[in-house]
Symmetry: C2
Subunit: 202 residues, 2 copies
Amino acid sequence: MTDQEKNTEQKILEAASRVFLRKGMAGARMQEIADEAGINKSLLHYYYRNKDKLFISVFRLAIQDFLPGILHILNSGIPIFQKLERFIHEYMRVLIDNPFVPMFILHELQRDPDRLFQVFKDAGIEPSRFIKEFEASVKKGEVRNIDPRHLIVNVLSLCIFPIAARPMMQRVLFDNDARAYEAFLKEREAVVSEFVINAIQP
Amino acid sequence: MTDQEKNTEQKILEAASRVFLRKGMAGARMQEIADEAGINKSLLHYYYRNKDKLFISVFRLAIQDFLPGILHILNSGIPIFQKLERFIHEYMRVLIDNPFVPMFILHELQRDPDRLFQVFKDAGIEPSRFIKEFEASVKKGEVRNIDPRHLIVNVLSLCIFPIAARPMMQRVLFDNDARAYEAFLKEREAVVSEFVINAIQP
DNA sequence: GTCTATATCGGGATAGAC
DNA sequence: GTCTATCCCGATATAGAC
């Protein structure tokens, strides 16, 4: 693979990411992706034979960019409260840097659950270790008795939703002031940690 | 307007809702909507001149079906903790009955924020009363000092996300067992209330 | 109001020159 | 590897009969 080739392929993938992430598979236009990449439409087909293959590449990339750092924290051996704090902090940072990823994944996963979830599984998600660890903490009386799966869903909700629903929340609560909403999101790193920890304290 | 007309128009709107809510504006096909309504494609254009007008009708409907009950609780005069409990209970019930609405609104709002948010505003959302009320409770020391906007976002997150992200969560946490996930959602009515109230207790 | 037939158009995909 | 030109299908939209 020549340098030129690698650059073009990379340019296409980045352009396609931007377009797919905003518009979704159905809403994205090959022409728009080509324009965004500064190349001709036919070149898309040269590198990725059709729209679907290009989409899958983008979907896989979005997940791979997303999971590793997160999983690393979840599987680390630090104490439970500290782990939650670190996870929330790190996860929200990644989300703020990739604001379109959550909606994209949720929307497309709803459109074609089975096929796309396969891509997910291949990336290796495995919450069972955290669940066992949390259950042990409950038994030791370190945390309030709450189903760890509810806790997981709660934490993900509190991190992801404010990013995914930004177009609505920013308008309703902040008069569509982008700066104010960014500050609000930054605050949340601490607010969510505190909220969760208060909620599960015995 | 004859009875027949009203029925057909209604049938179309209901069919269109199902299709748009699942597939989104870009993914929905007029043919599919016609099939779903058991009528001819041309009839869609007879009642709603084009796809966009049909879509807007569905979007407006989705919002109108959604907001009134919620707003009624938020604007009622009951005490703050009780209000939160009622809101969470009622909101989750509506969400469970209309599981596709959240993703639909979020996705479409991201695609065309300004135009679609107008529909939202027309329906009359107004959180400022609740915000003032909550700030008063903070001053009286009834609740922990937390920015009410964070609380609003937290509550909405905890209610909406588990529904919107069901295709993912059900697979990751429940081995894609639909029954188990429904039970999980039912549990959440109480779990979320408890979680939130614990989190904001002084 | 409802149907069949058809026009029109946009967009994904391909052929082929360079 | 990159471009221009073009094909072809699917989907929206319209015309017109009943």
